[in-house]
């Protein structure tokens, strides 16, 4: 791709960008959210037309090609969001839109099943081809999505942040699979925010910043620090990082709490404390966090807030000063058709229904200090929420709960799909909030994130608490060992 440019409504999002991938090469495409990565890839895949520039793929020049044309040319795209069809079986998903049929369109079911089986065996994927996709775990769905692309036997495969939904074993598996592709002379464009992954798998890289190419070359010739600096630019230094603060009384106490996803959990959280919950995908940490907000049903046990037992739905917990930033922002947080301001005041209005009318001036008076404190970059609070970047949206939803004066803030995977710079902002905000006496519980899979902010880390394995580590004892090796139950296996 050479000289690619694209603008939306007069905003230049890609400015004369080049990208070259050789056969048998794994190429990392890097950049903060909004740097233009997705736009570039969407142009390559035929989803968007380019304003200028040429695409040469496998010796042929393409211009305003359609998705189907690019797919036929040997390009497959695994998008960041899951695009599997839940109501079909695994095998039906693999063959979706490419079904093998007898005349009159009758499906060759057994042949498709056999081919799916063969595909899974070739890449050592452990999924039942006849299973219904809705019964699969998220990680398996992501692998299915990748297998669908593999099945097309594409010459170039685009993987847009494929590892966010995967556990460590699954990531290793994916990397083995990518190396297998490479050995067969196929190419891969790999988008990720995780430096260790990139340095483990990629051969070459391109860094975009604000729609411009800022750095490219061979991974062997660079360092993670240099790449991060290229992504972020020179203006941002490192954050202050972790700092200790005095803790107050116990404000949140969970006793023998049991649900479908976890059993017999006991936890005590103090005022001003930052507690991290972690574990592999499916360990029950996210569900535990949700149950502390009334968003996940429990079977037995109690949750006490400020010494008083609380039960019921989200409304009951919100009235006791609990707020939650849910995982999967697009699905669980964004109210797409309304403005930034309306997204912010929604939660507060549910708690304070009186007076029933809205005075916009008063709402703005509440919003402005929050927007300033959180650094929400929106030209106007009346803008549509979808015009904001992921990190900015996340700040809006944090404002939604801070606006209710919540004392206990729960964060479920708060930095998912957020760029490096905004991640730093969010860590800093979490530390600031704790300094102001807020109590914070975070569920995250990213251990460096835990090291940076949390006073204590509770590790779950298969629905049970297996470790409760103080700040000084948190390190990548130990947390991973508990999360994978390696310690239990050793003894």
């Amino acid at each position: 791709m050479t000289g690619m440019s694209k603008s939306f409504d007069g905003n230049l999002v890609l400015d004369d960008v080049n990208l070259t991938v050789e056969p048998g090469q794994i190429h990392a495409l890097l950049g903060e959210n909004g740097a233009g990565k997705s736009t570039l890839l969407n142009i390559l895949a035929g989803v968007l037309p380019a304003d200028a520039g040429t695409i040469v793929f496998d010796g042929i020049t393409y211009h305003d090609a359609s998705i189907n044309q690019m797919e036929a040319a040997g390009l497959s795209f695994v998008h960041q969001e899951l695009n599997v069809i839940n109501d079909l079986t695994v095998s039906e998903n693999i063959f979706f839109n490419h079904e093998l049929t007898y005349p009159l369109g009758v499906l060759k079911r057994s042949q498709m099943l056999a081919e799916t089986q063969a595909l899974f065996e070739r890449f050592a994927v452990d999924i039942n081809p006849t299973a219904k996709v809705s019964d699969l775990k998220t990680g398996q769905k992501q692998m299915l999505e990748i297998c669908r692309a593999l099945h097309l036997d594409a010459k170039l495969m685009i993987l847009d942040e494929p590892t966010t939904a995967l556990g460590n074993d699954e990531i290793d598996h994916l990397f083995a699979l990518i190396r297998q592709l490479k050995a067969n002379g196929k190419s891969v464009i790999f988008v990720s925010h995780k430096m260790p992954e990139i340095f483990q798998i990629a051969d070459t890289y391109t860094v975009l910043r604000n729609g411009q190419l800022v750095s490219e070359g061979s991974i062997a010739d660079t360092t993670p620090l240099a790449v991060t600096r290229a992504m972020v630019g020179e203006h941002r230094g490192t954050t202050a990082g972790y700092r200790q603060r005095p803790l107050g009384d116990v404000v949140l106490e969970v006793s023998s709490l049991t649900s479908d996803a976890f059993t017999g959990v006991n936890l005590k959280v103090h005022r001003g404390e930052i507690l991290a919950l972690t574990g592999l995908a499916g360990c029950g940490a996210s569900e535990l966090l949700q149950s502390m907000f009334g968003a996940f049903p429990t079977l037995s046990g109690t949750i006490e807030i400020g010494g008083k037992p609380v039960s019921g739905g989200i409304g009951a917990f919100a009235r006791h000063g609990v707020g939650m930033l849910p995982t999967n922002r697009k699905e669980n947080s964004v109210i797409p058709d309304v403005s930034v301001l309306e997204n912010v005041y929604l939660a507060e209005h549910c708690l304070a229904f009186w007076p029933p009318y809205i005075v916009k001036r008063r709402e703005l008076e509440r919003y402005e200090p929050l927007g300033e404190m959180l650094g929400i970059r929106a030209a106007s609070p009346d803008m549509g929420i979808n015009s904001l970047s992921g990190g900015n949206q996340q700040k809006v939803f944090l404002a939604r709960w801070l606006n209710t004066d919540a004392d206990i803030m729960l964060f479920d995977n708060p930095t998912q799909g957020v760029d490096v710079g905004a991640k730093e902002d969010i860590y800093e905000l979490i530390l600031d909030l704790a300094d102001k006496g807020k109590t914070i519980v975070i569920n995250t899979l990213e251990i460096p994130e835990i090291q940076k902010v949390s006073d204590r880390c509770v590790v779950l394995y298969s629905g049970a608490v297996v470790a409760d580590l103080p700040h000084d004892a948190i390190n990548e090796h130990d947390v991973m060992a508990y999360a994978t139950n390696a310690i239990d296996a050793r003894s």
Binding site: S333, I335, D337, V338, L346, H349, C350, P356, A379
Partner: protein, 357 residues
């Protein structure tokens, strides 16, 4: 980015078109109506506008369409409004004929409407049934109950010997309900504004304010835009989903009062036929998205007026009979939505041509 743009009338007009295209639709139809009137040798005057304002397509369908708009904004649908209005109007007649009391009659109409709406709302929100199915069922039930009752109850109580519910003209409140409120109007010079139209517009303004200026209104939009996210922000999604059906029931009660006062009777076999579809059409013509979350309740006023105008246009052309009416109503609906959906993509194509050439 920060620089102030000079006011450009064409841009203002195009933004008005994008956000309030329903106003243009109504103006265009009104002009067509004026032309057809003039073409038949008569003069278009304020009387014609009064007639549109007080048409049953405006006041009766329009009242129910306000509720339908809230239901559709939450991403649901109510097919039972037409039948519900017939049953409610039947109950209203009975209460009037038995008691002769105007306040009791009004109370009975509103209470019956709310009851019918609550049945829909509870089944949809708490039994988690699809709104289409629930209201399809209640649509059949409500009309059938009215039909069954009108034949069962003696004519002295229904107020009419011919399978109708009618207000008893011998009761003292009759004159006030029918002659003064139902068919009377305020005269502003030569312009007569019917009382029923004033009632409709007052209710409409009230609901525009509820939708845009209250916490409840915002929660209705939030539920329609993303119910899951609204729930996680603390909105009681079930309560909001049920409430819009109950509000619609209340407005069905208002529509029943207007029906009884304006027309004087209701015939379960024929009255309010397809009103649920007309109400949906008025909502869609008013620019409210069927997918929920987007749209302006004010649009319902113009949607209902547009529909009423189409009927008047057809009636004013002697060559066209009433049978062809639905064809034109259907055409207008499809044409308007076609322009709204195909318009932006055509514009985009022109813009791209300009950029590339």
């Amino acid at each position: 980015m920060e620089k102030k743009q000079a006011f450009r009338p064409l841009d203002a007009l195009s933004s008005l078109w994008r956000n309030h295209s329903y106003v243009f639709v109504f103006v265009v139809l009104l002009v067509i109506y004026a032309i057809t009137i003039e073409a038949t040798g008569k003069t278009f005057n304020t009387g014609h506008i009064s007639a549109i304002l007080s048409s049953q397509n405006t006041v009766i369908v329009g009242s129910m369409a306000i509720g339908q708009a809230l239901v559709i904004i939450t991403g649901q649908i109510d097919l039972s409004v037409g039948s519900g209005m017939v049953l409610t109007a039947g109950v209203t007649s009975l209460v009037f004929n038995l008691t002769g009391s105007v306040p009791l009659t009004i109370l009975a109409a509103l209470a019956t409407g709310v009851l019918l709406g609550t049945i829909n709302g509870v089944l949809v929100a708490y039994a988690k049934m699809p709104p289409f199915i629930v209201t399809l069922g209640t649509m059949l039930i409500f009309r059938s109950l009215a039909l069954w009752a009108v034949r069962l109850i003696p004519a002295s109580i229904t107020g009419s010997p011919s399978s109708q519910f009618a207000l008893d003209s011998t009761k003292p409140g009759y004159n006030w309900l029918r002659m003064q409120f139902g068919t009377g109007s305020i005269k502003l010079g030569s312009f007569a504004i019917p009382y029923v139209s004033i009632l409709f517009i007052v209710i409409l303004i009230l609901f525009v304010l509820i939708a845009t200026k209250t916490k409840y209104g915002k929660s209705v939009y939030a539920v329609g835009s993303n119910a899951k996210a609204a729930g996680l922000a603390g909105v009681s999604v079930q309560r909001v989903k049920a409430s819009v059906f109950i509000v619609t029931g209340l407005l069905v009660g208002v529509a029943a009062i207007i029906q009884e006062c304006k027309v004087g009777n209701v015939t379960p076999a024929t009255s309010g036929m397809s009103f649920e579809m007309y109400s949906i059409a008025a909502v869609v013509l008013g620019g409210i998205a069927m997918a929920g979350g987007r749209g302006n309740v004010l649009g319902v006023l113009f949607g209902a007026l547009s529909y009423a105008t189409v009927v008047f246009i057809i009636v004013s052309i002697p060559a066209l009979g009433a049978d062809i009416q639905n064809t034109f109503q259907g055409l207008v609906l499809i044409l308007v939505i076609l322009v709204q959906t195909a318009g932006p993509s055509i514009r985009e194509r022109f813009r791209r041509k300009r950029v590339t050439s």
